[in-house]
C-alpha cells in the first residue's frame, strides 16, 4: 500500500522553492539602483552602446535601455516609469504640461546628438533627389507612381513607422506639414524594419535615421525645386543644410541629479560623443 506520494524529497523541494521565492522578494531590487532609459527606437542602439561603455568604465553603474518609440519614452516619463527618456523629436507643449502636472516641474531637456532623417530608396532606383513637396505627395498618397517624380513607371510602395515613433511625428510635422499619412503607408515598428523592407522592394521608399542605411541608397533632399539636392552627411546635418536635420534628446522629469547627472555629463563628454560617431550619428558640436 503506497500512502505517501508526497515523498520527503518532494516536500523538501517545495519548501526550498517557497523559501527561494520569499528570499527573492526580500533581496534588494537591482532595478531600484538602475538608471532606466526608455524611448526612441532610432536611438536605442546608441543608448545601448552608451550604457555598455559607461558600465565598463564605471563599476557599480547599472543602466537598462529599452526602445519602443519616442512616444513610449515620453509616456513613460510622464507616467513616472523611467528615469531618462530618449526622444528623436522634441516634446510637444501638451506633453511638457502633462509632465509638469505629474511631477511638479517641467521636464529637463538635453541635446545629446544630431541626426538627419534620411530618405531611403532601393539601390536600383534611378531617382537621385526629391523635393520636400514631392515627398509630401508620396507619403500623403497624392503621388502614387515613380514616373511622376522622374523615375520608372512603377507604383510607389511607401514604408513608414508606427505612430509611437518620434521619427514618425518629426516626418509628419516637417514634411507633411501636420497633414495625415496615406492609409496605405506600411507601418513598420522600427527603422531597421523600414530599411529591410526598402532593400527588398525595388519600388520602395522609406524614412529613418541616417545611421541605419545599409543595403539602401540615401536619396538627396531638396528644400524646393530650385535648391540643390543635399545628402545627410555630417557637415550638412551639423550646418543645417540638410532640410531634415534634427536633434536627439534626453529628457528627465526633474533637473538631472546624482548618478543620472553623472551619466548625462559623460554622454556629452568627448568619450560619449565618440560613441555617437561610432554608431553613425553626429555629435552635438
Amino acid at each position: 500500500m503506497r500512502h505517501h506520494r508526497f515523498s520527503t524529497g518532494m516536500r523538501v523541494a517545495s519548501v526550498a522553492l517557497a523559501l527561494a521565492v520569499l528570499a527573492g522578494g526580500c533581496a534588494p531590487s537591482r532595478r531600484a539602483q538602475a538608471i532606466t532609459i526608455k524611448g526612441s527606437d532610432t536611438m536605442v542602439i546608441l543608448g545601448q552602446r552608451w550604457a555598455e561603455s559607461y558600465m565598463k568604465g564605471h563599476a557599480g553603474a547599472v543602466i537598462q535601455v529599452t526602445g519602443g518609440g519616442s512616444g513610449t519614452g515620453i509616456a513613460a516619463l510622464i507616467n513616472g516609469t523611467t528615469d531618462i527618456c530618449q526622444a528623436s523629436r522634441a516634446m510637444k507643449d501638451e506633453e511638457k504640461a502633462q509632465a509638469a502636472q505629474k511631477h511638479g516641474q517641467p521636464p529637463a531637456e538635453t541635446v545629446v546628438a544630431r541626426d538627419g532623417v534620411a530618405i531611403y530608396v532601393a539601390e536600383s532606383n534611378p531617382v537621385q533627389a526629391l523635393t520636400l513637396e514631392q515627398l509630401k505627395g508620396i507619403f500623403s498618397g497624392a503621388t502614387t507612381n515613380w514616373k511622376q517624380v522622374g523615375g520608372a513607371d512603377a507604383p510607389i510602395t511607401a514604408y513608414g513607422r508606427e505612430n509611437n515613433s518620434g521619427t514618425y511625428v518629426f516626418f509628419k510635422e516637417h514634411v507633411l506639414a501636420n497633414g495625415d499619412f496615406a492609409a496605405a503607408v506600411q507601418t513598420l515598428p522600427g527603422t531597421a524594419a523600414v530599411v529591410n523592407a526598402v532593400a527588398a522592394d525595388a519600388n520602395g521608399i522609406g524614412y529613418g535615421g541616417a545611421a541605419y542605411a545599409k543595403g539602401v541608397r540615401e536619396c538627396g533632399v531638396r528644400a524646393d525645386a530650385a535648391s540643390p539636392p543635399v545628402l545627410p552627411s555630417k557637415d550638412n546635418v551639423l550646418s543645417g543644410a540638410y532640410p531634415l536635420s534634427r536633434a536627439l534628446f534626453f529628457y528627465t522629469a526633474k533637473a538631472p541629479a546624482g548618478t543620472i547627472a553623472d551619466f548625462i555629463t559623460w554622454v556629452l563628454s568627448p568619450e560619449g560623443q565618440a560613441v555617437v560617431t561610432e554608431v553613425g550619428y553626429y555629435p552635438v558640436q
Binding site: 503506497r2 500512502h3 505517501h4 506520494r5 508526497f6 522553492l17 517557497a18 521565492v21 527573492g24 522578494g25 526580500c26 533581496a27 534588494p28 531590487s29 537591482r30 532595478r31 531600484a32 538602475a34 527606437d41 536605442v44 542602439i45 545601448q48 552602446r49 550604457a51 558600465m55 547599472v62 543602466i63 537598462q64 535601455v65 529599452t66 526602445g67 519602443g68 507616467n79 513616472g80 516609469t81 513598420l188 515598428p189 522600427g190 527603422t191 531597421a192 524594419a193 530599411v195 529591410n196 541605419y212 545599409k214 543595403g215
Partner: protein, 314 residues
C-alpha cells in the same frame, strides 16, 4: 416499418453496379488535407531547425547578449522565462487545484455557485490574451500596484511593470487549464477508494489529502506543465506588465523587470536595429523556445496518456 423510417432519413443510396468514384475521392481529399497539415508542420519546424541549430551552443545558452544583440547568448531571457513561470506556478497551483477539489468533492452540482464557477472557467479560457495584458495593466499595475504605493507613501515602486504582475496575469490566464486538468485527474481516482475512506470514518479533507490527491498527482502535474508551456509562449500578456528588451542584470526580486524568450523573439524580429546581424541569434532563440515548449508538451502528453491508460485498464 423500421426500414422505411431509416430510408426516409438517408439520401438516395446508389443502387446497382455504378463505379463508386466519390468514395475514394472523398477519402483521398480528406487524406490530402491531413497530409497537408502534417507537411506544413514539418516545413515550419524544419525551417527553424535548419537555420537555428548552428547557433544553439552552450555559450549561446549561458552567455548574455552583446553588441546590440548580434553576438553572445540569451541566458538572461532563459533565466527570466524560468523565473516568470516559476512565480506563475506558485501563484496558480494552490488556487487551481483548490478550485478543482471544491468542484469535485464539495460542490453541489446544480448549485448556482457551482454553475457560476464552471461558466466563469469556461469563458475565462476564451478571453483574448491581449485583454489579459490590458487587465494586467489596468488592474494589477494601475489599481493594486499604485494603491500599494499610495498606501506605503512610495513614489513609483509597486505601480510599474514587474515579474510579480506579469506572473499573476499569466496565472489568471492559465487558471482554466489547471482547474480542468486537475478535476479530470481527480475523476480518474476510482470512486470505491473515496467511498471506502469515507465509510471508514475519514473526513472530506482527510480523504482528499491522503487518498485522492496523491493518486491524482500525475494529472495535476500535467495541468501544471501545460500551464508552464503556455506561460512560456504567451507574449501579449507580458508585453506591458513586465518584459523588457535589454537588461544588464538578472532579476533578483519579484519587483524587477525581466527578459523573456518569447518577447525577445518578438522584439528581435520587428524592432531590432540590425536585422541581418541578429538573424542567427533570432533563429537560435526561436529554436530554444520551440524546444522548450515542445519538451514540456511532450511530458504533459505522456503523463496524460499514462493517466488515461490507468483509468482504462481498470
Amino acid at each position: 416499418m423500421t426500414t422505411q423510417a431509416w430510408e426516409s432519413g438517408l439520401p438516395a443510396l446508389p443502387r446497382g453496379r455504378k463505379t463508386d468514384v466519390a468514395g475514394p475521392a472523398l477519402s483521398g481529399l480528406t487524406g490530402f488535407a491531413a497530409f497537408l497539415i502534417v507537411a506544413m508542420v514539418v516545413v515550419i519546424m524544419g525551417n527553424i531547425a535548419w537555420f537555428g541549430w548552428r547557433t544553439v551552443t552552450w555559450e549561446f545558452l549561458s552567455a548574455a547578449p552583446r553588441e546590440g544583440m548580434t553576438a553572445g547568448g540569451i541566458f538572461p531571457a532563459i533565466f527570466g522565462t524560468v523565473a516568470l513561470v516559476l512565480l506563475m506556478v506558485v501563484a496558480l497551483i494552490p488556487f487551481g487545484v483548490g478550485a478543482a477539489i471544491y468542484l469535485y468533492e464539495y460542490a453541489r452540482q446544480d448549485a448556482w455557485f457551482t454553475r457560476a464557477v464552471r461558466f466563469s472557467v469556461n469563458n475565462l479560457a476564451g478571453v483574448p490574451s491581449i485583454v489579459f495584458g490590458l487587465f494586467g495593466l489596468g488592474f494589477f499595475i494601475q489599481f493594486v500596484g499604485r494603491g500599494i504605493d499610495r498606501g506605503l507613501g512610495l513614489d513609483v515602486v509597486w505601480g510599474q511593470p514587474s515579474l510579480l504582475w506579469a506572473a499573476l496575469t499569466l496565472a489568471l490566464l492559465n487558471l482554466p487549464v489547471v482547474i480542468v486538468t486537475a478535476e479530470e485527474a481527480l475523476r480518474t481516482v476510482p470512486r470505491e477508494q473515496r467511498e471506502a475512506a469515507l465509510a471508514l470514518g475519514a473526513t472530506h479533507w482527510q480523504t482528499i489529502r491522503r487518498v485522492l490527491l496523491p493518486q491524482a498527482m500525475p494529472g495535476i502535474l500535467t495541468g501544471a506543465i501545460l500551464a508552464v508551456s503556455r506561460g512560456a509562449g504567451e507574449v501579449a500578456p507580458i508585453m506591458f506588465t513586465g518584459a523588457a528588451y535589454f537588461l544588464p542584470y538578472l532579476p533578483t526580486s519579484p519587483l524587477d523587470q525581466f527578459m523573456e524568450l518569447g518577447y525577445h523573439v518578438f522584439v528581435l524580429s520587428t524592432q531590432s536595429p540590425d536585422i541581418e546581424g541578429t538573424k542567427p541569434l533570432l533563429y537560435g532563440t526561436v529554436l530554444v523556445l520551440l524546444l522548450l515548449t515542445f519538451l514540456l508538451n511532450l511530458t504533459a502528453i505522456l503523463l496524460r496518456s499514462r493517466m488515461r491508460a490507468r483509468l482504462a485498464g481498470r
